[in-house]
């Protein structure tokens, strides 16, 4: 396994800038997730690393050595595509064995069989080895694609939304398996997704991309608790973070068009800013804010309450089912240690918690 470094990568397609000055490092054995909406440049980044696309500027380094002039085959990466890129008319076994049979690596047949069987067992496709790939279900096909990546020991695994074409249940189980395999093999993995749940659950570190720019690189916990700007804050967490235009006066944070006021003694805040509150930090039933229930969304494991206070609506998440009813007047509290502040440009304002 190897570490991967990107230095100032930029890429343009016919006048559209896909990547601008993207730099980050994936450590040896790290599971790195690139998160961003469609068109953010996630896939382009992967393709540049694999050598399928040539960058216009910057450099890709494996273990400190530039690989820019090398072909995809020479870079020794494994790529799992969003579409199941299996060779038609070949059996599952032949598909899995194919990367091992390359004339560039000389493996004897018993070794090939051993590795294929091992990979098939890990992915629970052992019973499908003699099947033609056309007769597999979507989930099975993607397992085979992942299998084709893990039979060899590449320097880096590159995965381009490998789970997004699967139905919800399969996605969940394959996600767990992927994590097990990655942790066991200690493989350097770069995983691209637009799904924040995948990013938060799988990643050692997350890189958030927007319009070709890398906005924040941090551990999932920091991405969630200390989002660098409004975009990152909105990208992770379901339900979405509550955001309100607010002001600071007389030692209190005051939400516009609402009676919500939070005593908050500190200096760094400007007069106008955006206040961010995660739904789980809004606790109904206790505290001194007033509002009424506008909507109840019971999800079983948790319930999302829409609380109306003045002209704004807050989302609150409580665990389990609740007894709250529509229109009911309630009191609620906001955890003042977990407030997020963003300035007019949307960037995070770091404030010392001095109360």
């Amino acid at each position: 396994m190897a570490n991967v470094e990107l230095r100032g990568i930029s890429k343009r397609f016919r006048g559209v800038t896909a990547l601008r000055d993207v730099s980050f490092t994936v450590a040896d054995g790290e599971f790195f997730v690139l998160l961003g909406p469609t068109g953010a440049g996630k896939t382009t980044t992967l393709r540049v690393i694999a050598g399928l696309e040539k960058q216009d500027g910057g450099s890709v380094l494996f273990d400190g050595g530039a690989v820019d002039s090398r072909s995809p085959a020479e870079r020794d990466v494994a790529f799992v595509f969003q579409q199941y890129s299996l060779y038609p008319t070949m059996t599952v076994f032949d598909n899995l064995a194919f990367p091992l049979r390359s004339p560039l690596r000389k493996l004897d047949n018993t070794e090939i069989t051993r590795r294929v069987t091992e990979a098939a067992e890990k992915l629970r496709i052992g019973h499908l080895l003699q099947r033609k790939t056309e007769r597999l279900s979507g989930g099975e096909m993607q397992r085979v694609s992942i299998g084709r990546a893990i039979v060899r020991q590449p320097r880096v695994f590159l995965m381009d939304e490998p789970l997004s074409n699967l139905d919800a249940k399969l996605r969940e189980s394959l996600r767990v398996e992927l994590e097990h395999i990655q942790k066991k093999q200690q493989s350097t993995t770069l995983f691209v997704t637009h799904d924040q749940v995948e990013a938060l659950t799988l990643a050692d570190r997350i890189g958030v991309l927007r319009e070709g720019k890398l906005i924040q690189v941090a551990a999932p916990r920091d991405i969630y608790d200390k989002p660098a700007n409004l975009f990152v804050a909105q990208s992770v967490g379901t339900p979405r973070i509550n955001l309100f235009p607010s002001t600071y006066s007389d030692g209190s944070v005051r939400v516009a068009d609402s009676p919500i006021a939070l005593p908050f003694s500190q200096n760094g805040l400007p007069v106008h800013f955006t206040l961010g509150v995660r739904a789980e930090d809004v606790t109904p039933g206790q505290g001194d804010q007033r509002g009424e229930i506008a909507l109840v969304e019971p999800l079983g494991v948790e319930t999302i309450l829409h609380i109306r206070s003045g002209d704004v609506t807050l989302l609150s998440m409580v665990s389990g089912m609740t007894h709250y009813r529509l229109g009911e007047a309630i009191s609620f509290g906001i955890d003042q240690d977990r407030l997020h502040f963003f300035d007019a440009k949307g960037d995070r304002i770091d404030v010392e918690q001095g109360r």
Binding site: L52, F79, Q83, S85, Y87, F98, R148
Partner: protein
């Protein structure tokens, strides 16, 4: 609810013609034409093939049983025509497949003006075979045709006369047929090639696959169904080839390019007017084509199932 029935009766009153009637108005003309031009001749010629009927005499057809078929199948000359037809079909379809597929592989890469080039290449296919036959006759002309000139003959002395030389005439017809129909094979292959997703090749590149593997394992299997359909169509057409050959050589020199369809035409209309016997020959050709098509279709299904 009360407005609904009233509304529907009102609409029915307005519409004089029912859906069923409209359907029949559109279908009937087609049906009549089909019956007159296809169905009736099909069965009438089947009947005639068992008679000694001739279209220019006033004698009614007399039933002769399998005599026409027996006579045709025992005629060594007829077997020779079939062999010539087979050779023509094999050569021209084979070359069309190679050239058509090759052109498709080249034109699949998009370059500046590739759309225009593709359109230009398709032109021969749109021409009438008789016209093609006539101007290729000029191209092959030994004294002023450009074909020999392009081959390097600057003087007509000693240059081959393609259409008048026994063993060259069939090749001349094959070359013309290939010129005319390779674009058709190309067109089908091109649509097959364009349907192959790029990521298959990218996966192969990352897996360190050779370009031979990429062709053998990705390109060929994906194009094969369409390629076989092209070959099937061309084979059927080659067995029925008539107008192009008639326009170029008329079956000559001697009987060097006498294809079955050309001979059939001669038997039915040129001086002989042996309508019954010609009908029998037409049915023999039909059976041969059906047999060949079946072999192709069986292979096609095998390929589709993987």
């Amino acid at each position: 609810m009360t407005a609904f029935p009233a509304d529907s009766t009102g609409r029915q009153g307005q519409r004089q013609i029912s859906d069923r009637a409209i359907k029949w108005i559109f279908i009937t003309p087609t049906l009549i034409l089909l019956i007159l031009l296809n169905i009736f001749p099909l069965f009438y010629s089947l009947y005639l093939s068992f008679t000694d009927f001739s279209a220019i005499t006033k004698d009614p057809p007399v039933w002769v049983g399998f005599a026409n078929f027996g006579k045709l199948l025992n005629d060594p000359q007829m077997w020779k025509y079939f062999a010539t037809t087979g050779r023509f079909a094999f050569l021209s379809v084979g070359l069309q497949t190679l050239i058509g597929f090759g052109m498709a592989l080249i034109l699949r890469e998009k370059f500046n003006g590739s759309g225009i080039v593709t359109t230009l290449i398709l032109i021969p296919m749109m021409l009438s075979p008789v016209v093609v036959g006539l101007f290729w006759k000029l191209i092959y002309n030994p004294s002023f045709g450009i074909f020999n000139y392009l081959l390097g003959y600057t003087s007509p002395v000693g240059a081959p006369d393609w259409l008048a030389t026994g063993n060259l005439a069939l090749w001349a017809v094959v070359i013309t047929d290939v010129w005319m129909w390779s674009p058709f094979v190309m067109l089908l292959c091109l649509s097959g090639l364009n349907a192959i997703p790029d990521y298959l090749y990218e996966a192969a590149a990352i897996d360190r696959a050779s370009s031979w593997f990429q062709f053998r394992r990705i390109t060929l299997p994906q194009v094969m169904p369409l390629l076989l359909i092209a070959v099937l169509f061309r084979t059927i057409e080659a067995f029925k080839s008539f107008d192009l050959v008639m326009g170029m050589t008329g079956g000559g020199p001697g009987d060097a390019t006498e294809l079955v369809a050309v001979n059939l035409y001669r038997m039915a209309f040129q001086g002989q007017w042996r309508t019954g016997q010609a009908s029998a020959l037409a049915y023999i050709v039909l059976i041969v084509i059906i047999a060949i098509s079946n072999v192709y279709i069986r292979n096609l299904n095998k390929i589709r199932e993987g």
